[in-house]
């Protein structure tokens, strides 16, 4: 009895401590969300927060800001395109690795994984020169291509455990019925793998959504993404914190949903090579 009371007491203390840590940890995030609803002039004055400061002005300004709107449009476009391409290419490759035994299978699979972890700066200089020569710098196509480069290896490894868990008897039955390997993959296997495909697609999209360096170096005015637009809101002499925070909050909405909804898969996602941009 005494032991149980002590345990309950400990749990309350630890719950409280955890809550305090959480509040401190999330304070900067809360600050950013809040500043999106305050005017620049109020933020810069350093006045403590009052309810009467709340306004949608920064959001209105951001949604009238052509630079940010273009960035948002490009972010969505590049994100979706890169996700679709990476998923198609990655699912095929993952299927090949998962279902066939061939020479060099291990090296290939591990090679993909190592490639995913290389520093972007090591690739971006060459990509810059290549894209410039091919006249695809500052195009949605070029940026998509660069995002596909890190998402394909990522998707392959995200999908492998999903694919390995799918029973082969369906495919074997289809083979007996005379389906071609590609027909089996497309008509029999992929529908069975739908949950894994959805999870991988979400991760691939967030990877692209969060990306900054490729967008910074491989785009200019036309194909710049939202993170670049946000950076220019607080660059140089202009410190429009309100707008930057409003724009940042808009960018964070999918990320918040992602973190909560994909909780079960976060560790696996990290094991497949991290989520950072």
């Amino acid at each position: 009895m005494k032991h149980r009371r002590r345990k309950l007491f400990m749990n309350i203390v630890i719950g409280l401590a955890a809550f305090i840590v959480l509040v401190i940890e999330l304070y900067p995030i809360g600050m950013t969300l809040l500043n999106g609803f305050r005017r620049d002039i109020v933020i810069l004055s350093g006045r403590p927060f009052e309810l009467s400061q709340l306004t949608l002005r920064s959001y209105v300004l951001v949604f009238k800001n052509p630079g940010f709107l273009l960035g948002l449009k490009n972010s969505i476009e590049v994100g979706l395109l890169a996700t679709i391409v990476s998923l198609a290419v990655g699912a095929m490759a993952s299927y090949g690795i998962s279902r066939y035994r061939f020479r060099g299978r291990n090296i290939l699979a591990y090679g993909f994984l190592v490639f995913r972890m290389l520093p972007q700066i090591s690739l971006v200089i060459a990509l810059y020169l290549m894209f410039k020569a091919a006249h695809i710098r500052d195009t949605v196509f070029g940026l998509t291509l660069s995002y596909v480069s890190f998402n394909v290896p990522y998707v392959i490894w995200m999908l492998l455990p999903f694919f390995a868990a799918i029973d082969r008897s369906y495919e074997e039955a289809a083979m007996v019925d005379g389906c071609t390997p590609f027909g089996i993959f497309w008509k029999v296997f992929l529908p069975l793998a739908a949950p894994g495909l959805v999870v991988s697609a979400v991760f691939a999209f967030i990877n692209s959504w969060n990306e900054f360096m490729y967008a910074l170096i491989l785009t200019g005015v036309n194909a710049k993404t939202a993170p670049i637009a946000i950076n220019s809101l607080i660059g140089g002499e202009t410190l429009t914190w309100g707008q930057a925070c409003a724009a940042g909050t808009i960018m964070l909405v999918p990320v918040f949903i992602f973190t909560v909804a994909m909780q079960k898969f976060l560790i696996r996602g990290i094991a497949a090579g991290g989520v950072k941009g």
Binding site: I12, L44, N106, S149, F162
Partner: protein, 293 residues
Amino acid sequence: MAAPLLFLAPALVVVFAVLIFPILFSLFVSGFNWPLSAGMGERSFVGFGNYVELVHDPEFWNSLRLQLGFIFIAIPVELVLGYGAALLLNREFFGARVVRTLLLLPVFFLPIISGMTWRFMLQPRYGPLNTLLIKLGVPEVTWLSNPTYAYAAVIIQDVWRMWPFMFMLLYAGLTNIPNELIEAAHIDGAGFWRRQRSLIVPLLMPTILTALLLRIIDALRIFSEVYVMTEGGPGSATLLFSLFTNRVAFGYAKVGMASAMAIFLLILSIVFAATLVRRNMSLDVLEEKAGGR
């Protein structure tokens, strides 16, 4: 025999075009004095000249020192915080699940928004951190315009953002240790520190190593957060390796030199990445776990 190749072909084409070829091309460019654009001078072959020049460049050593310092300070702090939190939160209490989930929000935060948020936190006059210092009666710190403080700020930002990452991995590892084992040690009279030292840490070691490797690989890539916070400044006080490479390529317009740096970082990263992959990633284990045949 042809079937696997057919399935892998598109991925191989992509990997060759946007990963392998750029690396080979970088290697090629690093052998040249290669100006950023045609108007900026003549292209000339220099062999290993760029690498030799790099070794004699104090700015290169500065950025390497900053990069390594960053890794050796930030990551151990993250490990200790993450470990402590994992121990603390490895039990059920009211709201435990919510706390564990919300702690992860910073990890998946857009890096640039993390950088922006901290740049705001550290602003003189109106930044929340300085407001707090003033309230406590401590003199204000102009964080981002002082070299030492700016470097500290970059590390603080990373610790804030990534200690929950350590927590997440270590917590997952900790839940795999059977409770009976820990309780048995308790009953045998092993105190808190003794239990950590002879039971939990050894059992968690594989997880800890994995987490460290993941963080090192990640820290070697760091760019966006710092770029948004300080752009490497003031001066070159926070010019971590990727930022310096970027500056050499697109600021100083010395693409050959920057490519040599890129290759250097690439080799360093491959060592860590290959170690991680060899240690942790096994197709066989993955397939066994999934139970597929």
